[in-house]
Subunit: 424 residues, 2 copies
């Protein structure tokens, strides 16, 4: 079937799906968990085929590709937790009496059809599709091609399990090729939102080649700014965590900014700690005057996402210069300040134009699970709809409902009837 046809089917299924009771959606999530456990050996066997075909991949990629009993246990636990969360749709957000007998409600509802493109990580397929199901959305899924066999069986198991309790089967559709993705980018009539995950260049490609709304982030150029009053031990601890706790992730810092008045006090301690964590350090001239054996940083370093144990360092005049640098070179993802001065922290948090702005905490906390949102479908640096970790709420929108009793606008226009606009 063509991508157009799959998307059209998903759109048609999205309407009855949007109108299912939360009990049914929760039952479907539990049926998914059960079916995945029952058919574990089939899934692991399919995963084995993918793993064998990907022998040339690096360890990190193979670790993501594997779907074993441990991963199964994790996704099953995730499904059960998700079934226990409150219903994100059908929530009355506001209620207004417009005039006597005329009532307006704003009610949360699903977005419709979500197209999600994700890396070769089969557990992500389960997580993403379950978030869509809980929020009443149909989903087109395209996973990394290395996971093709695993994704096929997972999608089949999920579809069958959800159909068995009464969910319309067309709610979940698996795309398999890069051409399918390119076709998807033009299906504005059937797809309401695209969430691309993966490499910077891939996400950028998606963002630049569709007029369907996109939530995601292409780069994660995050900063840590050490203010004049930063404690050196806290600064070192946060810098090490923010750089080395998981160097290939998007919320890892790429640049360390240091207030000029504190650079002499802080940089020796912080650089020593980073070196013990095996981080390669590149500094501007001012920082190299303080720590002479830093490698020289170039202009290009300020806009580079290393995704590895490399960090650039720059001395700035004050918090204003730090903010300006971050807003200019950063990717509006996650940035943090270390300071003992609350007023400076608040200034930084107000002025830095990023999804997440932290005070005396590692940038690594930027994550849906750590934020307590449940799982996330991705992290968004968009300035509309959903910013930062996108969880269940980011997969919902609302509609406006009026209940009247034969009301027309004419008498209001003529002035014989008046709006009350009373919050109910």
């Amino acid at each position: 079937m063509s991508t157009l046809e799959l998307a059209r089917k998903a759109k048609l299924a999205s309407i009855p799906l949007s109108d299912t009771a939360v009990e049914l959606r929760n039952r479907a999530l539990l049926a998914m968990a059960e079916a995945l456990q029952e058919r574990a050996s089939e899934i692991v066997a399919a995963n084995q085929i993918d793993l064998e075909a990907s022998a040339e991949l690096g360890d990190a990629l193979r670790k993501r590709l594997v779907f074993n009993d441990k991963k199964l246990a994790d996704v099953v636990a995730g499904l059960k937790a998700l079934a226990g969360l409150p219903d994100p749709i059908g929530r009355v957000m506001t209620r207004t009496e417009l005039a006597e007998g005329l009532h307006l409600q704003r009610v949360s509802c699903p977005i419709g059809v979500i197209g999600i493109i994700f890396e070769a990580r089969p557990d992500a397929l389960v997580q993403i599709s379950s978030l869509c199901l809980k929020s009443g959305n149909a989903v087109l899924l395209k996973g990394g091609r290395e996971a093709l066999h695993t994704n096929r069986i997972l999608a089949e198991v999920i579809r069958e399990a959800t159909v068995s309790v009464g969910i319309p089967g067309d709610w979940i559709q698996l795309l398999e090729t890069r051409e399918d993705v390119n076709e998807m980018l033009h299906l504005n009539e059937y797809i309401d939102l695209i969430v691309p995950r993966g490499s910077n260049s891939f996400v950028k490609y998606i963002m630049e080649n569709t007029t369907i709304p996109v939530l995601g982030h292409s780069a994660g150029i995050c900063h840590l700014y050490l203010d004049a009053s930063a404690e050196s031990r806290m600064a070192a601890k946060i810098a090490v965590d923010a750089k080395s706790q998981a160097p290939a992730t998007c919320n890892t810092i790429e640049t360390l900014l240091v207030h000029q008045e504190a650079a002499g006090r802080l940089l020796p301690v912080v650089c020593e700690a980073l070196r013990q964590a095996k981080v390669e350090l590149r500094g501007d001239e001012a920082s190299r005057r303080i720590v002479p054996d830093l490698l020289p940083a170039t202009e290009e370093d300020w806009s580079t996402e290393y995704l590895s144990l490399v960090l650039s360092i720059k001395v700035v005049a004050d918090v204003q210069e730090a903010v300006d640098h971050i807003n200019r070179y950063g990717s509006h993802h996650t940035d943090a300040i270390v300071t003992q001065d609350a007023a400076t922290a608040r200034f930084f948090q107000r002025r830095v134009d990023s999804a997440d702005v932290f005070w005396n905490a590692s940038t690594r906390f930027a994550d849906g699970f750590r934020f307590g949102l449940g799982a996330e479908v991705g992290i968004s640096t968009s300035k509309i709809h959903s910013r930062g970790p996108v969880g269940l709420e980011g997969l919902t929108i609302y509609k406006w409902l009026i209940d009247g009793s034969g009301d027309t606008v004419a008498p209001f226009a003529e002035g014989t009837r008046k709006f009350t606009h009373r919050t109910e």
Copy 2:
């Protein structure tokens, strides 16, 4: 100056603007009101030039183009009302203790720079720019070219008035040509959201030619469905209001759907009332069997926005067929049902995939002012961010702030520290 340069300046101004106290923004709104009154004669004189150059325009367009004492009084009243509304930014939306001493807040903030393209209606310039100012956003404005002289003086007066109280002057930028708009569509780095208003084809052009997020609606193909249990008097009253109260507006109905069991009872009464309101009626075969002198409707009618006193009529089997027709041919804007049956009304409200879905009320109520949102910058049929009338809240987003005390992710990853995720 190039559009790029104007957008860059607006972006730079947007950061300090986002960090202004609401008292300052309100003072700026009142300064705008005062300055517009003081310089009324200059503005009216500029408007006279525009009106003289547009002598060939129709009455409806000239009525929108005029800026006289009445329009001035309206915008001044609007500015004063806006100054009295609560601050849409800086609002703490959620507060969570992530772990002991580690606190997360989600705080509303401006989107950044909004590009708004609007019709030749100078009062809209004041309304739109004031909504952006109140919500802390910088704005690029491009009004219809017929209003050029009026828009120039209005933008100058607004800029001077707001600068006089301490707002950064670059927050408001006026674009003047269609080429400026085309340039704007590619400035993803500086413009965060585009709101196009105007003709269907123009809005469609914008939506299809930019990857910057767009809020708006290209068509307003709205429906009224008369269910089996509809009262004929109520049906006629709502149909007449929804079609003829302001036929050129987007929330006016284009198609009337009638349940087959009630068509014989309802159509003669409703068609007679519509004819008295001078509406040209086009019907499908089934409706022409009941009201023989209807003009024949063709397939094209179901997807046509007449924007005039024309209405197409179709008999449907039941509410399910009505919903299917609306979701297929409609523009996801505003649709209404007339019925005495609450269960059918709720089914219709849940299943119709539109921004506004009304029960026993005219579609003409779909409007920011009538909804009690204050003014609106436009109406959106997008499925993300803001749906239906876009008021102040639609011009805001949020950021996530963490306050910590030196917290790192490592101990959580190692299991020596646990998240509490306690709502505060």
